[in-house]
Amino acid sequence: MAAQVEQMKPLPDLDDPVSAPFWREAAQGRLSFQRCSVCGYLRWPAASLCPECWSPRAEWAPVSHDGEVWSFGVYERAFSAAFESDVPYVVALVQLDAGPRLIGKIVDVVPADVTVGMRVTAAFESFADDAALVNFRGLRSD
């Protein structure tokens, strides 16, 4: 079940037509990126042009939820009051098997158990009726 994010946190702009589908897809339990209709490149962050071929045309394409922790840090101090109740929390850069690299929290874990190279999978956290953030949790190796 997706946790509810407090309102005061900086949240994605759902009025941005370019990036909003990412968060809406996440609310449906899908990790989706714009796949360029011309060259197939996956855009991240979402953009109005393909950075490879400059085509504006793209379809939102669901990809594998899995990836690996490229690196991570443990926030022992909140730099914004909105995150004070979360401290300590783990933020990682995740190299997705599908290609893009995402920043997200590693949830449902003791910080000391997170490692570089750890296999993770997307964990969706709703922040509006039909929008969710993409966090990650450890993948069992069995």
């Binding site: 994010v5 991570f72 022992e76 101090r77 914004s80 995150f83 920043i103 953030l133």
Partner: protein
């Protein structure tokens, strides 16, 4: 950019550093220019190029506003959206080389400590990556990730990293201009609280108010100035503007291209560098750039630091002003000032014996890098 000493810094000016409540960023930049003009023994009318640098999170540093406030109509002026001074210095050199200007003032001033609250809590890396909703805030976030990755790849320890903050303080203790001068040992470092583990408070700069100015001109004109000129031998840049689209972007591997060009264009190698300056919003920048600029092998910065190499009395003087970790946060500008003063032999107790060549390396976050080789003689 091969300069062969054709461009020189002939004067520097620095205001008081620290908390300067009620001061305006542009006023501080103009005050610093006043000191530089005094050192150069010229008037503001002789400045025909004005380069300003925007101060993050404030309105300060726009060329049109600074020119109006300072009562100057230079032939050429421009604003850079970011600091570190290297980017500004390269633009000054290009303006002089092409004849756009003969005598360029480069300015930076900020009241981000006591004035408008600096947006340090903005999304980490100010790079348009949507990290803020996940609490990926402040430069210590991406820096922590970069260091954690270095640890995982090479076995680098927190204690090894701690040598950077400790060495910076040892230098700062001999610098009357430095804000942080109290004793600070490796034990103190290890007892300091984490901000974003594995980085601690002393690994990250404290912001400050202040102003800095440089006057840059051609080598021919430099001979007419009262102070010994410091010549630019080369400058180089490389961007990584694709950011998260790039592999290993937090490690910034493209910095290696700057190193290759800046040494080649100066006709030198790292073994010729007597003084090394590395812009250091966090200690991790120093760790990375020691490797990218070839002062130790890839992955070997930890063991290199452990030898005490960068501390006073070590084999490689680094940030002899105390850097941004201990002197002040002028977005890298004071590193150039210190290089100039060391190359002139003006640094008193912390003066390095008979230096001839300095290298200054800086980055704009995870987006671009620059370096300049400076020398007190034309080769």
């Amino acid at each position: 950019m091969r300069l062969d000493g054709s461009v020189a810094i002939v004067a520097v000016g620095v205001t008081e550093q620290g908390k300067l409540p009620g001061r305006d960023g542009d006023d501080l930049a103009i005050e610093a220019l006043g000191y530089a003009l005094e050192e150069a023994q010229i008037g503001k009318e002789q400045i025909d190029g004005l380069l300003t640098c925007k101060a993050a999170g404030t309105d300060a540093g726009i060329d049109t506003a600074v020119g109006r406030k300072a009562g100057m109509n230079p032939a050429f002026s421009a604003t850079l959206d970011y600091g570190t001074c290297n980017f500004t210095l390269h633009l000054a050199a290009m303006a002089i080389a092409t004849g756009m200007a003969t005598t360029v003032a480069c300015l930076y001033g900020t009241n981000q400590k006591t004035g408008r609250k600096f947006a340090f809590t903005a999304a980490a890396g100010d790079d348009g990556s949507p990290g803020a909703p996940y609490g990926f805030l402040h430069v210590s976030g991406p820096a922590a990730l970069a260091f954690q990755r270095h640890q995982a790849l090479y076995g680098t320890t927190e204690e090894q990293l701690g040598h950077i903050a400790v060495a910076s303080r040892q230098w700062a203790k001999m610098n009357p201009q430095a804000i942080f001068r109290q004793d600070f040992t490796l034990e103190d470092y290890l007892a300091s609280p984490y901000l974003v583990r594995p980085l601690r408070r002393p690994d990250v700069t404290m912001i400050s108010d202040g102003g800095v100015a440089l006057i840059v001109t051609s080598a021919e004109r430099a001979a007419d100035y009262p102070k010994h000129a410091v010549f630019l031998l080369s400058g180089a840049q490389q961007t990584g503007l694709r950011l998260y689209q790039n592999d290993d972007q937090l490690m910034r591997p493209w910095i290696a291209k700057v190193a290759e060009r800046v040494y080649a264009d100066a006709g030198l190698t790292q073994s010729d560098i007597d003084l090394l300056y590395i812009q250091d919003p966090t200690s991790v920048w120093i760790l990375q750039m020691l490797e990218w600029y070839g002062f130790c092998g890839m992955g070997e910065a930890g063991s290199f630091l452990e030898t005490g190499a960068i501390a006073p009395g070590g084999t490689l003087p680094v940030n002899t002003n105390g850097g941004q970790l201990s002197e002040a946060y002028m977005w890298g500008w004071l590193h150039i000032v210190e290089a100039v003063r060391q190359l002139r032999g003006e640094c008193g107790e912390r003066q390095v014996a008979d230096p001839k060549v300095a290298l200054y390396c800086s980055t704009k976050g995870f987006e671009k890098a620059a370096a300049t080789v400076l020398a007190n003689e034309v080769p």
